[in-house]
Symmetry: C2
Subunit: 494 residues, 2 copies
């Protein structure tokens, strides 16, 4: 009989709030983290999810941060129709190839009851021209731009919309790949190729800032290879972030569309010389997929870990009540602390439910609330409180004077934010493997390598590389800007 | 030959920015105000509109104000699927009658190119169970509630979503009635009939506050008559606002659904006695229709008039440049003022385009910007500025020291907000006609009466009244709360 060795025994003893753990089964762990944090769930509509309040509050914070940056870039929000005429989709040939395939198609505008009393599409209400639900809005926004842009004076025109889109995905995963998802899509038009190029880079820079500063997600900014570009784009820029299983997540994209969509949508303007010419457009989008990335970057075997800047709540206060005599004063102290914290702009909740304290504690851990604060009778008498960081766990448990805590709390939250980023960055940096031959790409993944490989981009297009990539389900993720196109990052991806 | 009399001559001389005027053709005036203010336009999708940046900025301000109030009422935002299975719609019989008729139906999930190369729904991708695009979400949210609610501890459950919905309208008008529109829909569940009733009233109260305090729109809060209720509701509460043509706009609704939807969606919970019982639900919504109401309440024959609290910009600064020598210092003064105003939380734009000053001036008038500020060389030298209120026009033109203006500007904006409300309230109060018989209802409208009539509600249900209402296209708008159900307001409506 084999006896478990010391390390295995050690491992066995660690009980985690989430089972299986990341190491045991990453995809199931991911689902269970979402469930335990009460963020989202599958819906009765095939491939569509319900975003629950706690998950939606996170998305709202991401939205707010990004929307402010978009407005600072002089982009204006607007709203365009959900439905797109088929004829519009047909206009851009490459776009058709890339998007037309799997769309929700609206063919009728009325229901009626059939002989069995069942509701069915009414025969008499069949649309002569069906519509698709937008998979993206380049074509319909292009149609408006063609009317709004007449002269160089109308440029640049910079538009953004926050909306839902649909792509009929067959294999879906909460947040990462759903038939319906939420996003923002920006659509800008310029008078020159240079401005469009600069804009596509600028908007990618905004995403990069959102990811690094708010979601605490490191990543590699770069250019997509030709095969991986958005259908109809001259160039696609991306931010590829490494998840804890070593796979890449394309966290956002920004496209330089050149004159391709301007030509198919007839977006022309009179330039300063009085000549008519086509505009140059860009488009750029970030979706609820970012939430999936956030989870796979920061969550651990005890559940979600929220970066403070986008956390639904910065802190949860747990009243530790042992008898009725002290209940009143404990709740009062909790309320007072909540108000104090809110007054300095922090998002705080008191968990005053009648559940057991350990259940409340584990709930805040699984939800990934950055700070847990406990106040019992003794703390009230002493004018103190006890606080624990989610990222560091029980070893960070500290009891201190309330006034001292109030003086430090913002710094603590800033430190959590910074530590989460550093930890994820170290994880990523340690798993980017520079290799010097195509063979080494194969060897790395054959041996169960976790992470990205970085290879001389001159190998792109070679049959040998394509074969290896196919064998191990790899794709070229991007040509990192920092290597000026000389290298390509290759990885498994979401 | 008849000579025009003095008054007619006077009238002829007044040139308005919008033609026709309100008196000449209210519906065309309405369209032209929207066009002149660049707020929205029809799209190539039948019945759907494009909300342009200036109109969308207004909607965002309405959203922000309402969202804050909704969150203060402890309601949590979430997101539910766009598509609804037909089977869900079938569950609530009255609801089917009221909503199933005109919906966008999704029947296929893929497109393909036919023999002519045209994109068509793919035959092989027909959905076994079609979906409708949500006309409202009671049924799909009810499905989630049935899973999330198990015990009285799970109640109340208060949810809201901001989203797009579709109702296949045949006759559409920008903002007022479009196939696709934007709204928020709240869906709350409680353990008792009393709580649900109170909640429906409370949420209507929040809408009323939004309308009175932010949109400066007076109205009559009350209960809908049985025939005018939401399909499946026990009671519908409404806020009916009078437009400048005397018609009523149903500005929002709040429904007490009793146990009707809980029964059809199986929302049951174990109560404190351990027994299973159905929950009591409410739903409440406010849409982009509110923007149509805002326009028809405040706009005049020169265009839009924005209440400061929701105006996209509080003020526009026009640099009055007569020569290149003073251009620099004028623009610098404008920039400085903009920054000063922004630093106290005001939304300000400089119109530095190369258009003629009168064009810029008229643009700000047609857009309804509350304050127009003019700064020329003389103002810069004197440390002054000139400002004009949109609501009072050129008679309010004032030149004063910049420091004095900065000390007064918030008070000026508050006064504009208050004056707009008072003016609309006087308009409405003067046009609510108490009548004492059914005949008088007919007489009022026969003589071209503009406004609402108020009648003893005991007449409701009488054939004579129905006949009169049919003849003049009238409907009972509500039983005002302030009359405790004793009177009914009757009017033409949008």
């Amino acid at each position: 009989m084999n006896k478990p060795n010391a390390q295995q025994q050690q491992k066995k003893k660690v009980r985690t709030a989430i089972t299986p753990t990341r190491d045991e089964d990453f995809p199931i762990w991911y689902q269970n983290v979402i469930k335990a944090a009460d963020m989202a769930e599958n819906s009765p509509v095939r491939g569509s999810m319900v975003i629950k309040p706690y998950g939606f509050a996170l998305w709202e914070n991401v939205q707010r941060a990004l929307d402010d940056m978009i407005k600072d870039a002089d982009v204006q929000n607007a709203y365009f129709p959900l439905l797109i005429p088929l004829e519009f989709i047909s206009r851009e040939a490459e776009h058709v190839e890339g998007f037309a395939k799997e769309c929700a198609v609206v063919t009728h505008h009325r229901l009626e009851q059939n002989a069995d009393g069942k509701l069915v599409p009414a025969e008499g209400a069949k649309l002569e021209d069906p519509y698709v639900i937008r998979p993206t809005s380049e074509t319909i926004i292009g149609d408006s731009m063609s009317k709004w842009i007449n002269s160089y004076r109308d440029l640049p025109l910079k538009l953004n919309q926050w909306c839902n889109v649909m792509r009929w995905e067959m294999r879906t995963r909460l947040f990462l790949r759903t038939a319906e998802f939420l996003w923002q899509e920006g659509h800008n038009a310029f008078g020159s190729a240079e401005e469009a190029h600069e804009d596509a880079m600028k908007m990618l820079g905004i995403y990069e800032r959102l990811y690094r500063e708010y979601l605490a997600m490191p990543g590699i900014a770069g250019e997509k290879t030709a095969d991986e570009r958005f259908p109809g784009a001259n160039n696609t820029y991306t931010y590829e972030s490494m998840m804890q299983d070593g796979k890449a997540l394309q966290a956002c994209t920004s496209h330089d569309l050149g004159q391709n969509f301007a030509k198919s949508s007839d977006i022309q303007f009179q330039n300063q010389n009085g000549e008519m010419q086509y505009a140059y457009t860009t488009s750029w989008g970030l979706s609820t997929r970012s939430i999936g990335g956030l989870i796979m970057t920061h969550a651990d075997d005890d559940g979600m870990v929220m970066p403070p800047k986008v956390a639904p709540y910065h802190a949860v206060i747990l009243p530790i009540i042992r008898d009725d005599a002290t209940k009143g004063k404990i709740l009062e102290a909790c309320e007072k602390l909540k108000e104090q914290m809110r007054s300095i702009g922090l998002r705080v909740q008191i968990d005053a439910s009648d559940r057991r304290t350990p259940d409340k504690m584990w709930d805040s851990i699984k939800k990934g609330v950055p700070l847990r604060i406990e106040i019992g009778a003794r703390e009230v008498d002493d004018g103190t409180l006890t606080h624990v960081r989610r990222d560091l766990g029980r070893e960070s448990k500290t009891t201190c004077a309330t006034a001292e805590f109030m003086g430090n709390v913002q710094a603590i939250l800033d430190d959590i934010q910074a530590q989460l980023y550093s930890k994820a960055e170290a994880f990523q940096d340690n798993r980017i493997n520079a290799v010097s031959s195509i063979e080494q790409v194969g060897e790395f993944y054959k041996e169960g390598g976790v992470g990205f490989v970085s290879l001389d981009s001159a190998h792109l297009g070679s049959e040998a590389l394509d074969k290896i990539m196919k064998k191990y389900s790899l794709t070229p993720r991007c040509l990192p800007f920092e290597d000026e196109g000389k290298t390509v990052i290759i990885a498994k991806s979401y």
